[in-house]
Symmetry: C2
């Protein structure tokens, strides 16, 4: 028998994140992903059914990680909802500091997957938002947060805003520090413009 050497599966995934980030999903070539992973073109198909399933796997892992982290934050009873919100934002930013290419894929490519029903990415995204919603509801219940905002709308607004800011950063990282971005987002969500 022969064993698989190294971790080609992960190498291909990392390569795909890089290539998707640089060229966008549709322009990305399997052969280029294979090159980046130091693997033959055909080997990609030993580990992934097709191109789309690579993107699917990226988002699956990403949402799993984000949701697991969020679940822990939601449960905590030692901090108030406002602090929880800060931690969620930190979680997002930390992940993308560690992997800027992933940030770019995250902000730009998810809608390819949501339109088709294949995979459960849309569901995972909803689950994440549902969980985040609990923090807001806790805040409203404890009269810390403003009750006038529609939570369903709010949660989409926030995630969209954060995505947009991250996209900007992923394309012009020189002009903005993530640190500054992070502070501003936290502040703005709570206080608004007035």
């Amino acid at each position: 028998m022969r064993k698989r050497e190294g971790n080609k599966e992960q190498a291909i995934l990392n390569a795909a994140i890089k290539v998707f980030a640089q060229h966008g999903y549709h322009r990305a070539k399997i052969s280029s992903i294979a090159d980046h992973a130091s693997v033959a073109t055909g080997s990609v198909y030993l580990y992934y059914k097709n191109k789309e399933s690579i993107l699917l796997t990226i988002f699956d892992q990403l949402w799993t990680e984000l949701t697991d982290g969020l679940r822990i934050i939601v449960k905590r009873s030692d901090i108030d909802p406002s602090q929880k919100l800060d931690l969620v934002i930190d979680k997002l930013f930390d992940l993308f500091i560690a992997n800027p290419a992933l940030a770019s894929v995250f902000v730009n490519e998810q809608h390819h997957l949501i339109k088709d029903k294949r995979g459960d990415i849309a569901k995972q995204y909803d689950d994440f938002l549902d969980l985040a919603e609990e923090i807001i509801r806790e805040g409203v219940r404890k009269k810390i947060f403003n009750a006038d905002v529609d939570i369903k709308i709010f949660r989409h607004f926030i995630t969209g805003g954060i995505r947009s800011v991250l996209r900007q950063w992923s394309e012009h990282s020189q002009t903005l520090t993530l640190q500054r971005l992070r502070q501003n987002v936290k502040y703005f969500i709570k206080h608004g413009l007035l």
Copy 2:
């Protein structure tokens, strides 16, 4: 001589908006756009150089319209910056009420154009944001708006948030009324969560 009958150019553009909205830019087929416009496949190329230039034209017209509208709002001296902000949001929402498919293309497809330098879509977007920034600056100067928010970051956050909310609406228009969306966005931008 023979004249061009009807307005095929516009018919193709409208068809493209529909098809791009439904399938996304990359999955959209020229032949399908031609069908929707009741025109032969080849005719598309009488009016547009290639597929990308169709998308380019859509965004060019869109940003021109939005920027023209914004310019008028910015100039007004009879209303305060807070009201101006409301009008900008109204402007966006009105446009997309009139044409939901355009909203979907707007929120999902712009990044195809920004990465490449072809066309000046990125510049038009920047111009729009610069103009919007003037409203915020006016508000800060008049002490109506909070001076602690970084305007550059803020403007990306807002547009991203609005996009996200519109995307949600364009995919599930039954559950949310745009009216409600609009009010919430206006309120939230100003007051935040606390």
